[in-house]
Symmetry: C2
Subunit: 189 residues, 2 copies
Amino acid sequence: MYELILAHIARHVTLAPAEREKFCAALQHKKLRRRQYLLQEGDICRYDHFVIKGGLRQYEVDDEGRENVMQFGFEDWWISDWYSMLTNTPTAYNIEALEDTEVLQIERVKLEQLFLEIPALERYFRIIILHAFVALQRRVLFMQKSSAERYAEFLTRYAHVEQRVSQQHVASYLGITRETLSRLKSRKL
Amino acid sequence: MYELILAHIARHVTLAPAEREKFCAALQHKKLRRRQYLLQEGDICRYDHFVIKGGLRQYEVDDEGRENVMQFGFEDWWISDWYSMLTNTPTAYNIEALEDTEVLQIERVKLEQLFLEIPALERYFRIIILHAFVALQRRVLFMQKSSAERYAEFLTRYAHVEQRVSQQHVASYLGITRETLSRLKSRKL
DNA sequence: ACAAACCTGTGATGTTTGTTAAAAAAAAGT
DNA sequence: ACTTTTTTTTAACAAACATCACAGGTTTGT
């Protein structure tokens, strides 16, 4: 059960066996059925979640009732609302399972305790947040481009994701309507 | 010279006096005239920069020759290209002084050494990157909204920045043309 | 296997925003 | 102070994209 997450950590830092055990002991295993929510608007987010099986989408619903996908989460991804965790305020996001899904979750408070005991763990989180930050910067720049270019970029970067999520969710992630995405696809062929 | 940066660190973590000194000793002071570049496309970014006076803009030039502003940096902000730093590859960004500016810079290699010696420093960077990440998520969601809403949001969040940068740079940050922004402003009055 | 729910494709139409160009205004440098 | 350079404003036009509506497919749960 812990192979995926330990391998992911090992890609960035080295933990002693005892540290690995301590970390794994803090993890909780959670299973979700398709359509089930890991987090709902209004909840306070207390956990960071690492996906070991299946897939999720994180989205917010805006004033006009539109769903805007912030990110997807498949195997090997962390997903949660850091803003809600940092500020202890209700989240604006929903995180919904797109398929039957399994995650390992760790409580924020527990994680912060572990950071004090295991500096390499804090380093790991610094590094993955940095990677996520860089990826988001890239996304911001891509939002300036035409919908065709955004979709092309999405295909090259997240080909495997495109296979697993519905077109409407891809459109929402790209910030275009499903109609526009549908037309884009037919135009190209 | 170090008050600003030490105060900023103290807002998030506590450093022992010896740690503070060690950190400050690793900093270099750098002055820039208006229009001077701190980083140019093609350079490899080796430093993280903390602004203590003045202001900068970080932008990339896309295939069509358009300048897209990634972020501004005024007093109390860190600015650099983490992607270039992480991968040791040439940056796609330019960082240009908008006014006469002073920064404190720290070499990436030196910083990583310090992380090993001063865990609280690594914590500080984890936290500020997390904050930057959360702010970027918010920006991604705002990119879905109309240009009027984006500008309104910008005004409420960055009123002080709006005072100090030209309208065309605000427009570029918002992902709209300067003409559109100009029209927005006149419409409102 | 079948009904219900959900997702995708397509056309007609409207709105927003970009484009081009030129004039007015403001700011910077000497 | 004054010239040069840069920035902002405005207008007419074009393009990209959203919206609305509905038909045809596909998936899902029972």
